[in-house]
C-alpha cells in the first residue's frame, strides 16, 4: 500500500467537496475490492474518502413499482430485506451468493457496481432487471452504466446514491461461482416484465452483457427449453485458470436455463 490521506465525511455534500478538492481522490465504500488492490499496490490515491459515515446513503425502501437500494447498503441487508425478498427474490438470492458472510457484511451495492469487476454479481442484477442508477447529479440506465472492464459511465467525482430496481413479474438468478473467491465464473439474471425479457450475463466478458437471441426466444416462450439450440459464441469471452472461453460459453447456456427455471419456480 502507498501512503494516502484518509477522510471520513458525515454528509454527501462534504464527501463531494473533499473529492473535488483532491487531484487524486477516490471514494471508499465497503472496501472489498479497492482495498486489496491498494494493498497489492495495483492502485493508489492521494485521498481516500470513506463513505461509511454517511448514513443517508444506506437503506432499502419499496417505492411505486420499484425497490430503491441505497448505495451504501450492505449485501447482507439486501439478503435479509423483507422488501427485496417479497418483490424481487432473485435479487436477494444474488446478494446471498456474493462472497462469504464477511464480504456480505461489509461489501455494498454501490461499491460493487462502481468498481465494475467483470465477475461481480450486481452488474448482472442491474442489467438483467433493468435498474436505474441514481447519482448525485443524474439517473443512468443500467444499459448505459457499465461501459468496459472496470469502467462505468460515471464522471470524475460523481457519486452513486442509490439504485432503483423495477419489480418484475418474474426473475431468476443462477450462478456458477469460483470456489475460492465466489466471484462469478458465469452468472445469469433473467427477468420477465409485461411481455419483455431481459437476460444479462456476468463473468464472461470485460463487462456484463445481454443476450438478445435468448431474450427473444424467451419473450415468445418463457421456458428453459425455448433456448434449446441457442449457443453463445465463445469469441471474445474471458479466459483464465478457472475457465477457458469454450467452457464459459457452455456455462452461459447452462446458467441461462437454470436462471429461467429459478424464475419459474418462484
Amino acid at each position: 500500500m502507498y501512503p494516502f490521506t484518509y477522510h471520513r465525511p458525515a454528509s454527501l455534500d462534504d464527501a463531494k467537496a473533499r473529492l473535488s478538492a483532491s487531484e487524486d481522490g477516490r471514494p471508499l465504500a465497503g472496501g472489498m475490492s479497492l482495498l486489496p488492490t491498494m494493498r497489492f499496490r495495483l492502485t493508489s490515491c492521494a485521498d481516500l474518502v470513506d463513505l461509511n459515515g454517511i448514513e443517508a446513503l444506506a437503506g432499502i425502501e419499496r417505492g411505486d413499482g420499484h425497490v430503491r437500494i441505497g448505495a451504501m447498503t450492505r449485501h447482507a441487508a439486501v439478503v435479509e430485506s423483507p422488501e427485496v425478498g417479497e418483490a424481487i427474490p432473485a435479487l436477494a438470492a444474488l446478494a446471498g451468493s456474493i462472497g462469504d458472510v464477511q464480504v456480505r457484511n461489509r461489501g455494498t451495492i454501490g461499491g460493487s457496481i462502481c468498481f465494475a469487476d467483470p465477475a461481480a454479481d450486481y452488474p448482472a442484477g442491474l442489467l438483467g432487471l433493468g435498474a436505474t442508477v441514481n447519482t448525485d447529479r443524474r439517473a443512468i440506465a443500467a444499459d448505459d452504466f457499465f461501459t468496459g472492464l472496470y469502467e462505468t459511465a460515471l464522471e470524475d467525482g460523481e457519486i452513486v446514491v442509490s439504485v432503483d430496481f423495477p419489480v418484475p413479474a418474474r426473475a431468476g438468478w443462477a450462478k456458477f461461482g469460483n470456489q475460492a473467491s465466489r466471484f462469478a465464473v458465469v452468472a445469469v439474471m433473467v427477468s420477465l416484465s409485461g411481455g419483455s425479457v431481459r437476460l444479462a450475463v456476468t463473468g464472461a466478458r470485460s463487462h456484463v452483457f445481454r443476450v438478445p437471441e435468448m431474450e427473444q426466444a424467451l419473450a415468445g416462450d418463457f421456458s428453459a427449453e425455448a433456448m434449446d439450440g441457442i449457443a453463445v459464441s465463445s469469441e471474445g469471452l474471458n479466459e483464465d485458470l478457472h475457465a477457458d472461453k469454450d467452457y464459459r460459453a457452455h456455462l452461459i447456456g447452462v446458467m441461462a436455463k437454470r436462471a429461467v427455471r429459478d424464475a419459474l419456480a418462484q
Binding site: 501512503p3 462469504d100 470456489q179 485458470l241 457452455h250
Partner: protein
Amino acid sequence: MTRERHYIPESRQREKPKSKYFAIGHSMKRVEDTRLLTGSGTYADDVSLPNMAHAAVLRSPHAHARIVSIDKSKAEALPGVLCVMTGAEAAEVTGPCADFSSPPTTQHCIAVDKVRHVGETVAAVVAESRYIAEDACELIEVEYDPLPAVVDLEEAVTSTGDAVLHPERGDTNVAHHRVIDFGTVDEDFAQADLVIERRLRWPRSGGTPIETVGATAHYDRGTGKFTIHANTSMYNYVGWLIAVSLKVEPHRLNIVPTDAGGSFGSKLFCHKVCTLAGTLARAAGRPVKYLEDRIDNMTSGDAHGSDRVYDAKLALKRDGTMLSMRLKVIDDYGAYFQYGVGQHGNAMAQVTGPYKINSVQVDLTAVFTNKCQQGAYRGFGSEVGNFVIERLVDAACEELDIDPIEMRRQNLIEQDQFPYIMPTGNMYDSGNYQAVLDEALGMIDYDGWRQKQAEAREEGRYIGIGISTCQERSVFSATEFWMWNPNETPGFTLSSSPESVSVNIDPTGKAFITLNAPFWGNSPETMAVQVLAEKLEMDPSDISVGYADSDKGFNSSGPGGSRFTVMIAGAVSGAADVIKEKMLRVASHMLEADPSDLEFRNGSIGVQGVPGKEKTLAEVALHAHYFRLDLPEDHDLTSGIDAAYVYDHPVTTMPSEDRTDLGIFYPIVGHMCHIPVVEVDVETGKVDFLDYVAVHDCGTMVNPMTLAGHVRGGTVNGIGSALYEHFHYDENGQLQNALLSDYLHPTPMETPVDIRVGHVETPSPFTEYGIKGGGEGGRMGAPPAIAAAVEDALKPLGVKVDSLPLTPKVLRGMIREAEANGG
C-alpha cells in the same frame, strides 16, 4: 552391525494398553484453546524486539536467468533504509542453506549469480519499516540474462547446456535416478494372468498455511551470538545447521520457537528464512524481522508438494489375487533439493498398501525444473503412493469385474499376519483392516447408497460412491531421508530421531512440562498433559506446558511424519517414571513403608491395601523441595523433583547396503477406510458431497476429539488435493496462481456438512499404551476415495480419472470428451 534380513527388534513398550484409563482416551478440551482462541498466542509476526528493523525481499521475475548486474544505489539512498544486500554480498558472510541432498545442491538465502525460479530472492532490504523496505525493493535495478526455462518434468529429463539448473551436479537436470527391485518382481509378473497399467498424474500443491514463514533475528556483537525467533520446527534436531550456514558455532545460535499459524508440514524446518533474517541482522547491526508475504510464501516458500507422473503396473491372478507392482515415476522437485528424495523414501513405507503384494519395483527419476522447490507437505509423498495403488486396484476391479469391496477383502493383510514385513522391508506393526472396512461400510449404509445411485441415474443424476482402504504410516525415522542415496555418496546418514521432554514438579505437587518442539497447529500440550496425568493420576488442570528454545532443549525431532503423539507419550512416560521413583522414595520415608508397597492413587501416594495411610502429591513434593534434612543421607537423593527424558524411536533398523531391504523405518502403521458419496453436475463439472465416512485405526486414542479433528481437517485437505489445489506454472515458468484468490482451497462451502468419523483401536505392541500417529491420515485417504467416487458417478459416460485435481473446468472437459465419444 550386520543383522539378518527382516530382523525385528524386541518391543521396548513399558506401558501396556489398558482396559480403563485415568486420563487417556478422554475427549478433554485442548489445553491450547484458551490461549489461542483468546488471541494470546505469539505468532511469528507478534515478536517485537527493541530497536527492531524490518526486511523485504526483491523477487526474481524470471524463472531462470543469470544476474548480470544489480544497482542498489537508489534503494540505499531512500530515507529509512538501513542496508541493501545482494546475494554476492550475503555469500561473503553466510554459507549455503541447509541441504540434505547428496551430492549437495547449493541454495543461498539470496540468489548468487543465477536465479532458478520465479520469486527467488535477488536482494533484500532492511529499513525502519516494512513499507520503506518494500519501497526500496522497487528502486533496485537488476539486469538479467534470461536462460531457458525448464517447466515440463518429462522434458527436464533430457535437458542439457544452459537449461541445466545445477551444472556442478553434471550436465543434466536429472537430480536422482535409481531402480530397485524389492522382492521377486520378474517372477511374480511372470505368474500373472493380468497386468493393469495406468499413467497417473499427481499435481503440485502445497501446505499454504494462513500464517507465512517468519523470523526475527538478533545478533549480539558482544557475545557473537544469534537469537532467532521463528515459526520453525525441528529446531532442536537440525536447527544447528542454520548456525553452520551463518558460520557460527551451534552454541552461538539460539532458536526460539513461536506458535505456528498452521503448517501442514510446510514449516518443517524453514531454514532459509531464519538464515536470511540472521544474515540481515548481522549486517544491519539491528534486530531484523522478515515475514514472507503471500507471494513470497507461494513462489519461494520451499514447501511445494510432490509433483509426479507414474507409469504404474499391478500384476494379478485372474481370481483377483494381487502379486506385484512396477512403478516408474518422475518427480518434479523444482529448483533445489533440500530433502533429496526423502519423499520417496517415505512412500516406500507403505508402497504396496494394505495388501498382500509380494514384490515391487520402483524406478525413480527426480528432476530439477525452474519452480519453487519441494518441501514437506502432509503425507510427504506417501499420499501419492496411496493414490497410485488405489487407482490400480479400482482399475483391476473394473477389468476383472470384481466388486471393489470384495477385491479389498480378498487381498487385505489378515489380522494374524502382524507384525508384517512388506516388500521394501518396512514393518506394519499391527492392524485389523477388515474391522476398519466393516465399520466404514456399516456407517455409510453402502447398499442403501447403491440403491439411491440407481434411482438417481434413472433421473439423469450422477451419484458416485468411492472407497479407499489405505495405510497411514506414522512415527518417521531419519533413514528415509538418505536411504535412496547411492553408496558412493551416502550423504549424512543419520539414524536418530528422538523426542524429549522435561518435567518439573513444583513444591505444591503440580507439574510443568517443557516440550522441545513447537506448537504447530496440532495439540502437543494436550497430548503431553493427558499422558502425564495418566502416569501420575493427576488432574490435567494441575499441569501446564511451555516450550524450550534450542539453548535449553534436548534432541527432539518435533512433529512431522505423524510422530509427535507417539513420541511425546514415550518421552513423558519415561520422565514420569523418574518422577514417580523419586516421589515414591520420598513418600516411603514419610509413610515409613517400603517403596514397593506404595501406589499412586488419585492425587496421592498410599500404602497398598491400607486406605487412609497416604500422603498427597503436594505433601510429598513440599517435602522433597524443602525438607532435605528430614530425609536419609543417601547421596543420590537430591532436593526437588525434576526429570528430563530422551525417548528414541520405538523400533527402527538400518537399511541393507544394496537397499533391496530398507529396514524398519516407518513401522507404526495405522489404517483407514474412506467412503465419500458425491454427485457430479455433468453440465458444469462441479462435484458435491452427499455423504462422507472416514474410519481410522490409530491404535489407542489419547483424545478421540482431537484425533477426529485431525481426521476431518486432513480429509478437507485431501478434498483440496483431489478437487481444487494446483500450483499452475505456465510454459515460461511463471506461477499463475500465487495468491489465495486463484489457488483454490476448499472452503466450508465445498466441504461435506458432516464428515462422519469412526474409530477402530488396534493398539501397537511397540509404543507406549499402543498409540499410533494420526496427523496425516485424512489427506492420505481422501484423494483416491474421491477419485473413485467421481469415476463411479461418471461410469455411464466412461470417464476415467487418472489425474488430479478434478476442478470443474477439468472435469467438464473430460465429460465433454466422453460425450463426444458417445459415452
